[in-house]
Amino acid sequence: MSFNDSLKIAAEGLNVERIRMNVIASNLANINTDNAGNGLPYVKKEPVFETVKFKNYFGVEVSKIENVENPFSEKYDPGNPLANKAGYVKIPNISSIKELVDMISATKAYKADAEVIAESKAMARASLKI
């Protein structure tokens, strides 16, 4: 029954958007983390989406979650134990606005995938009624 294919593909879509949402949550939660365990601030992460062949069709998966290499921002905070001699602390370079926009995009894509599952279900039901 080939409806299983569209259900599986849409489920893969749901899965990658959920992972993307998790990564956005990590980025937002760590937006002020000065020390990510290695003495350096938290580095923004981003999932890499990749098309995978699924029979005749095209599924999707997260191939890896990459660090986004951009220079850290600096904040003047002389009381901070991590501050350098001039009184500046390195903080992660994460734009909350960009993260929120990404979040909206992930939500929309997730809804679209859920809609595909609903329609495929309706089609499968219709064919069972023949």
Binding site: S2, D5, S6, N56, S105, A112, I130
Partner: protein
């Protein structure tokens, strides 16, 4: 008794469900960089499955006209290679996003809805066809 129209309707259900799979692929890859949106042209596939309108047995007036030769062999097309040859990249009508992805989610959603409605129409038609047969069978011997 089972005319070709059953095969044609059944095959069109198959093609519509393949099309649903393609739309699912596009929606799943809506955020994959470099992914090109695919399409499966229903009319084109059906034209290849049903060679000409005259091969649809609608105008048979006598028993002699009923050809028992299959207009197509339904099993022949079930191989994955057949449908695959009709899966194409969508023609670029809009400017693609910076990451090279060409999926337009609005277009996919409207395609999906029309695809599902078409599927339900064909499924309903097929079930009505069977209902007619059932009627004929049961009413002949009440």
């Amino acid at each position: 008794m089972f005319s070709k129209i059953y095969d044609i309707l059944g095959e069109s259900l198959n093609v519509l469900s393949d099309r649903q799979n393609i739309i699912a692929s596009n929606v799943a890859n809506a955020n994959t960089p470099g992914y090109k949106a695919k399409e499966l042209n229903f009319e084109e596939v059906m034209k290849n499955l049903v060679p000409s309108p005259s091969s649809i047995p609608m105008k048979t007036t006598s028993r002699k006209d009923l050809s028992y030769k299959n207009i197509y062999d339904a099993t022949e097309h079930n191989g994955s290679g057949f449908i695959k040859s009709f899966i194409k990249n969508q023609k670029d009508e809009s400017v693609p996003a910076l990451d090279g992805n060409t999926v337009e989610i609005g277009r996919e959603m409207s395609n999906m809805t029309s695809n599902a409605i078409r599927f339900q129409a064909v499924a309903g038609l097929l079930s009505k066809k069977f209902a007619t047969l059932t009627y004929a069978i049961t009413q002949a011997n009440p």
